[in-house]
């Protein structure tokens, strides 16, 4: 079997996998139209309900973006930014998302600190899922080449090189996929006091204005441990933050 045939088979395998992933999301398409129609009639509850995914599926970038638009249409800039940030992690290069985020952040009061950067710099341009799928494909190719090397039809060095490349992709992919699950960006709804301990009577460390984006690190009762774009950490009342929808 030639190398070209092997590559073709690997490509078909990866394509089939992507098709499965894509097909799994198709049933939700109609709900987007329902949500848009409900939003145009100002039926916000109906629009929100249409966007709730069935278990075990979760919200896609499209869903999160539309959820952000619903917030923005109701004048909730913080809620919109929270949803769009979550969508941005899944679709970092999407021009509509970038445009909307820029536009709404521009409407905020002056002095809002810079948003927190993505957990890894490469997430500015690549989604962890994209990198994860690339790693999956790379390992499939590496496995096929290893099998062929085992059979003696491919040079073992090619298989080793493929395995090294796959490892190089898989390491950041696994890291990024884990961070995607553990990273939550919250947006301050109204000026909030950030305290040194999760206690409403604790000393105030600093305040954050409306629209400030923070990374949520952990929770304790009604408080969230947050970190802002300047690296300042502290506890804030959870109700004062807009979080992306579950």
């Amino acid at each position: 079997m030639s190398g070209r045939a092997t590559a073709l088979k690997a490509a078909v395998a990866v394509g089939a996998l992507l098709a499965v992933v894509w097909a799994s999301a198709l049933p939700g398409q109609g709900s987007l139209q329902i949500a848009a129609d409900a939003a145009s009639a100002a039926k916000w509850d109906d629009a929100n309900a249409a966007l709730v995914p069935p278990s075990p599926a979760v919200r896609s970038a499209v869903n999160l973006r539309d959820d952000g638009v619903l917030h923005e249409l109701r004048g909730d800039h913080s809620g919109a930014i929270a949803s769009w940030r979550a969508a941005h992690l899944l679709r970092p290069r999407d021009p509509d998302l970038i445009h909307d985020l820029t536009l709404v952040r521009g409407k905020l009061e002056k002095g809002v600190p810079d948003p927190v950067a993505p957990p890894r710099a490469w997430m500015e341009v690549l989604s962890p899922i994209e990198v994860g799928l690339a790693a999956l494909g790379a390992w499939i190719v590496a496995s096929v080449l290893a099998w062929r090397a085992h059979r003696g039809t491919t040079d073992a060095r090619v298989a080793v090189a493929a395995a090294l490349i796959a490892t190089g992709i898989a390491a950041p992919a696994v890291d990024g996929l884990w961070l995607l699950q553990s990273t939550t960006v919250g947006v301050v709804r109204r000026e909030v006091s950030v305290r040194e301990v999760p206690d409403p009577h604790a000393a105030e460390h600093h305040t954050l204005p409306e629209g400030a984006e923070v990374r949520v690190l952990s929770t304790s009762g009604d408080f969230l441990l947050i970190e802002d774009g300047r690296g300042r950490r502290g506890w804030a009342v959870a109700a004062s933050l807009a979080l992306p929808p579950p």
Partner: protein, 572 residues
């Protein structure tokens, strides 16, 4: 030929242009400045004058017309080259001694510098020097050390910046000088702008006179008739010692302390009248300007919008009011950069406020006038400074046509092809996957599963390789034949055959007692065997020895006896 002539002509023109630019650039870059140590002299006194050339390399001394009431004598030249951040700067200083010959006010300069290469001469600024009629006669200690102290004004407004001038003139040799008792009450040092110092020497008939002067800016914080005690200067005067001399003499010269007190200081300070609501808090005579870096821009590009405020008051803490919303553009506030210095005895402060405009639609964008309300000490009233706005002509953005620089707080690049609709959030999406599988949870495991065959086959290959290597290593070492194998492969030649029989028997004996054939001690080995076997082996060995070394004929059954002995040793 015609086809060649045009580019050649163009090349020649380009070369001429480049050559002219190369020649002209140093002249354009060079700057010549006349710096005078002091602009006030008496007839007979001399002082220093420098002609400083920055950014050029003069080929000769400066040409300078000296008025009749003065004489100028060249006294030396200094030059230095410094490289800062990869940028080289050259500095040449021509030093002159100027002597006052006649009373009057004279203008010196401009000095003209020839940078060579046929370039036009570069001209400097001009300076004015005033020559007084009466030469000072120094006599006694007071004349040998004089101090001066005064504010640059006698009346001021509360919040105004004034400068305090302090100086001393001496003809004595000093080892140190220190002012104390300087005014501090009712005054506040501005955050921007350090005191400025100057030092120079004047030469006259009584010898050299050193002058050291300093201008210190102060903000007047109180009103009323303010009075301060006179400041004093404490100096360490070198005592002339006729016995001191030589190299070490200067290290151990004696000094004596001397204190000279200046004059009391005063200021009449008026309080500010009730301020208007939009008073900026600035007191001083200011000028307000604003500018944009281009009157034309494209949608999505950035335009620098800079506002300058400069004057003789403190700009500490000054902030422009937030920019009003501008139709058709987003405004991003930048920082304020204040700076100040004391120049020619007066405080000069500047603050630069930078903002960035990002046009969001095609058409004209009107940038409003800037207005700042300050209190003017010279007018004695609040004045509104106005800097006219501008109109920005915005064209449609083109991808790649402009260098788009985003000032968006989230760092996202603005779309270069943004249009008027960019002021609105884009509509909801109605196509695409509304939900998805939580791949982030399952993908790591899937990657592991996909990697498993490669890793397993890799491990298998490594194991196989290791086994093969081991076998290869084992095969490379020659295995010693067993006694039986030796007996089965006896050579046909008689002597070699006897040797082989002997070796086989001795090897069997050595293996029997657990030693190598080389380390075999025959008697010791035989002693370890049972008597019957030992007797059999000893008998056969003797027969072999007799045959091999004593010339006895080989017994006909020798080979059979050897085989029997080897078998006996193996069985035992």
């Amino acid at each position: 030929m015609v086809a060649l002539r045009v580019p050649l002509a163009a090349l020649v023109r380009l070369a001429v242009l480049l050559g002219a630019l190369c020649v002209a650039t140093p002249a354009l870059a060079a700057k010549v400045v006349i710096e005078l140590d002091t602009d006030s002299l008496f007839v007979g006194q001399s002082t220093g004058l420098d002609v400083v050339v920055r950014g050029g390399d003069p080929i000769s001394e400066p040409q300078m017309q000296v008025p009749a009431g003065l004489t100028a004598e060249f006294s030396g030249q200094q030059q230095s080259t410094t490289i800062v951040n990869g940028s080289m700067s050259r500095y040449v200083k021509f030093r002159y001694e100027i002597t006052a010959r006649q009373e009057g006010t004279y203008t010196l300069g401009p000095a003209k510098i020839d940078l060579g290469g046929g370039q036009p001469l570069v001209e400097s600024n001009v300076v004015t020097v005033t020559i007084g009629a009466a030469p000072p006669r120094s006599s006694g200690a007071n004349k040998a050390l004089q101090v001066e102290d005064r504010f640059n004004t006698t009346t001021a407004w509360q919040g105004q910046v004034v400068t305090l001038y302090t100086a001393f003139h001496t003809r004595r040799s000093l080892q140190g000088a220190r002012w104390y008792g300087m005014p501090e009450s009712h005054l506040l040092a501005p955050r921007d702008g350090n005191p400025t110092q100057n030092q120079y020497k004047i030469q006259d008939a009584d010898g050299p006179q050193l002058t050291q002067e300093e201008w210190t800016p102060w903000i007047v914080t109180d009103s009323g008739s303010l009075r301060w005690d006179p400041p004093s200067l404490e100096v360490a005067v070198v005592v002339e010692d006729p016995n001191a001399g030589g190299l070490l003499g200067s290290f151990f010269q004696r000094t004596e302390r001397d204190v000279v007190t200046g004059t009391p200081l005063s200021l009449d300070v008026r309080p500010l009248p009730p301020p208007p609501a939009d008073f900026s808090g600035l007191v001083g005579d200011f000028e307000l300007k604003q500018a944009i870096d281009s009157n034309r821009a494209r949608v999505g590009s950035s335009v620098d919008w800079v506002t300058f405020l400069s004057g003789d008051g403190s700009v500490e803490g000054f902030k422009l009011p937030p920019a009003a919303d501008i139709e058709g553009a987003r405004v991003y506030e930048g920082g304020a950069s204040p700076s100040a210095q004391v120049k020619n005895g007066n405080y000069v402060a500047t603050v630069r406020v930078a903002r960035t405009l990002v046009p969001t639609r095609v058409g004209s964008v009107v940038i409003p006038d800037a207005r700042v309300v300050v209190f003017s000490p010279t007018k004695g009233e609040y004045v509104t400074l106005t800097a006219p706005g501008a109109t920005l002509d915005v064209k449609k953005g083109e991808a790649g046509a402009v260098n788009v620089q985003s000032f968006a707080p989230d760092g996202s690049a603005a779309s270069p092809d943004a249009s008027a609709e960019d002021d609105k959030v884009r509509p909801m999406w109605t196509s695409g996957p509304a939900w998805r599988l939580p791949l982030e949870r399952g993908l790591p495991a899937a990657i592991g599963v996909a990697a498993l065959p490669a890793l397993a086959l890799g491990a298998l290959a490594i194991g196989r390789r290791a086994r093969a290597r081991l076998a290869e290593l084992t095969a490379s070492e020659p295995r010693e034949a067993t006694p039986r194998e030796r007996l089965d492969a006896l050579p046909s030649e008689p002597v070699a055959r006897l040797t082989a029989l002997d070796d086989a028997l001795r090897l069997a004996l050595a293996q029997r007692v657990g030693v190598t054939i080389d380390a075999l001690d025959r008697d010791a080995a035989l002693a370890q065997l049972d008597d019957a076997t030992a007797a059999t082996v000893r008998d056969v060995l003797s027969a072999l020895d007799r045959t091999r070394f004593a010339g006895a004929p080989a017994p006909s059954d020798l080979e059979a006896r050897v085989r029997a002995a080897v078998a006996a040793l193996g069985a035992a």
